[in-house]
């Protein structure tokens, strides 16, 4: 049963990775990153039940991950709004100052 959960998390992670790499809209990229973080939570909770040493620590770790992800998405959306205000676009291709 553990490997089914791990496979599910791997599927979600890879879908999120594809979205983060290929999408142009910055909000969608942020959503894909959230998807990847969520799949890691699934791994943590699955190991907390079916791992070699089952304990509650996995669930506590996933709670910490959830709160850090909430902070990340808040800061991410704020940066995006500030960028949109100064640049007039939410397209990741337009944010290439560091490459010029």
């Amino acid at each position: 049963m553990l490997s089914s959960y791990l496979t599910m998390a791997a599927i979600l992670f890879c879908i999120g990775l594809y979205g983060a790499l290929s999408k142009r809209n910055a909000v969608i990229v942020l959503m894909s990153v959230e998807l990847m973080l969520n799949s890691v939570n699934l791994n943590l909770v699955a190991f907390s039940k079916y791992g070699v040493v089952p304990s509650l620590s996995g669930q506590i770790f996933s709670l910490f991950t959830i709160s850090v992800a909430a902070a990340e998405v808040a800061v991410g959306v704020a940066i995006l709004i500030a960028l949109f205000r100064s640049r007039g676009s939410a397209n990741v291709d337009d944010f290439n100052e560091m490459r010029r």
Partner: protein, 174 residues
């Protein structure tokens, strides 16, 4: 009992139901064209994941997931869309080669992960954790004894992050 090589326990049925919801939601998130519809399908993924946590007997994490992800993060992302291009429709790929490369990279990563999961021998030792009876109380006890310093650090991090978010997103006074 039916089934070919697997015995159909209730957990397995629930797992496949939620897995179907999550994969359909995730694939729709990538294929839909309107950004708001993408957020709605992402909410379906979050809800499915919450259900999967209930199946794993992690009720507290499940409700946190529903409140924080399906509630707060989804609303925040919708606000993010409204404040930027709310008419946005995903445009045609500018560089199709880039898209193909990222698809190949994701599938390759999935292959590696799947191979690793299939070949690893997980030591079948301890019986599964039975934390279903009073999950929230046990988590609360551990948070305030064993993990109290990380807990306080996370609260500081959240305060700093949200104040920082407000400062960044605030309109500059002319």
């Amino acid at each position: 009992m039916g089934g070919f090589y697997i015995d159909w326990s209730g957990e397995l049925v629930a797992f496949f139901g939620f897995a179907l919801v999550m994969i359909v939601g995730a694939v729709l998130m990538l294929t839909l064209t309107k950004v708001v519809h993408m957020v709605a399908s992402l909410a379906a993924v979050f809800l499915g994941l919450g259900g999967m946590f209930v199946v794993l007997e992690a009720e507290f994490v499940a409700f946190t997931q529903v409140l924080l992800y399906a509630g707060a993060v989804t609303i925040l992302l919708i606000f993010g869309i409204m404040m930027t291009d709310h008419q946005a429709v995903q445009r045609e790929p500018v560089r199709p080669g880039h898209e193909i490369v990222s698809a190949v990279a994701s599938i390759l990563l999935f292959g590696i992960l799947f191979y690793a999961i299939r070949t690893t021998e997980f030591a079948p030792s301890a019986p599964p954790l039975q934390a279903g009876t009073d999950n929230a109380m046990e988590i609360g006890k551990q948070l305030y004894t064993q993990h109290v310093i990380p807990f306080e650090l996370v609260s500081v991090l959240l305060t700093v992050a949200f104040i920082g978010a407000i400062v960044i997103a605030k309109k500059e006074a002319e």
